[in-house]
């Protein structure tokens, strides 16, 4: 493991560093495989056997099965890769954003938030600052 980074203090953010890359490599390469129409077809026909072709951990395979987008990030997923799975499901980046918000946000809530200037930076800068009010 590498030592703690100063960016670990940023709330709700999974910085895609070397640790994440190593942990998530096969999960991300599974997502990348969905670039190809024939692979999308194979995954749609038989998800378990398609997934079995990628040496993911059981947790990663479960996160894919459950479409648990935050769990995928925590297990080394990169948003540009996991979004390929979201596209496969017919979701937009707003859907994915709402589902990752972890606050029961609907896609309409998320869209409304963006139309009113997005998620504010105040209160979302630093875990340390938030802990000390």
């Amino acid at each position: 493991m590498t030592p703690a980074h100063d960016y670990d203090d940023i709330p709700g953010t999974y910085v895609f560093d070397g640790d994440h890359c190593r942990r998530g490599y096969h999960l991300n390469m599974f997502c990348k495989s969905l670039d190809r129409a024939e692979n999308r077809g194979a995954f749609r026909r038989d998800p378990p056997s398609y997934l079995a072709g990628f040496p993911m951990t059981a947790d990663q395979a479960a996160a894919v099965r459950d479409r648990d987008w935050l769990a995928m990030l925590r297990l080394g997923g990169n948003i540009y890769y996991t979004f390929k799975l979201a596209i496969f499901d017919g979701l937009t980046m707003q859907h994915a954003g709402a589902l990752m918000s972890d606050s029961g946000m609907t896609v309409d809530d998320f869209r409304a938030m963006m139309l009113t200037g997005g998620r504010p930076i105040e209160g979302n800068r630093s875990k340390r600052e938030n802990a000390h009010g």
Binding site: Y7, L70, I79, Y81, K84, G97, M100, G118, R119
Partner: protein
């Protein structure tokens, strides 16, 4: 002699490309953005570059996790749009500029010791094609040749802001030392503040974006001092790609004239920003 005739900074949000491709630019959601960028398109009509160097990032399209070049230059004859899951965008393939691209590579590697990755065969994704659509609309062929210059901004550690600026300075030396009489423009793409991932998805930081727009014009060296943690925190994890604007700015003169500026929230999950710059001495 080749001349640098303009620099454009613009976000490259994929849904902007989808709005153009599906004829939705007059929808109430999109109209303010397309009205706002129109002066830059008219400026581009006057600038008429022969070649555009597009500094962008590949979003897990041509490059996967198996290989991550920090800086990669396309030296091929053509670059087709990549299928990003919806089928390729219905935009023309880009005609490359191999003669100038190889000069650029030689100048960067041999004169400036920028050891770039040389790519003969590559597709290009929305990071490159959306800026072209914004600049040129929907022609049946792009009105200029294109050199893709791909920067890793996805995998930490990304190159520093200062390194990006210095790459721009080195690109300028390559332009100024190229004999043929070519009009060259450079696009720095990506940003502005946005975060696609995690519980903080949807983050926008308009004051920080305004600071960048100001400093890009008057004091870009201050921006080159910014570290990644500040960018990740203030601009968002994907907003860090704003460092690619500094490649463009490094190529321009120290003093520039701001031709057009536009800022708009939101474009999908992103703050949209645009700057059109000319060298102060003019054309």
């Amino acid at each position: 002699m080749a001349r640098l005739v303009g620099g454009l900074a613009t976000s490259h949000v994929p849904s902007i490309g989808a709005a153009i491709d599906h004829g939705r630019t007059d929808d109430p959601y999109w109209k303010p953005l397309f009205d706002g960028i129109q002066p830059a398109r008219e400026w581009m009509d006057r600038v008429r570059p022969d070649v555009v160097i597009v500094v962008y990032n590949d979003h897990a399209s041509r490059f996967g996790m198996d290989v991550t070049p920090t800086f990669a230059i396309g030296v091929g004859d053509t670059f087709a749009p990549h299928d990003e899951g919806y089928g390729p965008r219905p935009v023309p393939a880009c005609e490359g500029a191999p003669g100038f691209a190889w000069h650029l590579v030689e100048s960067l590697v041999l004169k400036d010791e920028f050891d770039v990755t040389i790519v003969s065969d590559m597709t290009v994704d929305h990071g490159l094609t959306v800026p072209l659509s914004l600049a040129f609309g929907q022609p049946s062929a792009w009105p200029c040749r294109v050199i893709p210059l791909c920067v890793n901004v996805i995998q930490y550690p990304q190159p520093t802001a200062r390194r990006c600026f210095r790459l721009g300075e080195a690109i300028r030396r390559a332009i100024d030392s190229f004999e043929p009489d070519l009009r060259i423009a450079i696009f720095g793409t990506g940003g502005m503040s946005h975060q696609l991932q995690g519980e903080r998805a949807g983050l926008i930081n308009a004051p920080y974006d305004q600071m960048w727009l100001d400093q890009m014009v008057t004091n870009p060296l201050a921006l080159t001092e910014i570290g990644h943690t500040e960018l990740l925190r203030e601009a968002g994890s994907e907003g860090l790609e704003i460092i690619m604007w500094l490649v463009m700015r490094g190529a321009m003169d120290a003093t520039v004239r701001e031709v057009h500026r536009f800022y708009h929230v939101p474009a999908s999950n992103t703050a949209y920003g645009l700057l059109a710059l000319e060298n102060a001495e003019g054309l």
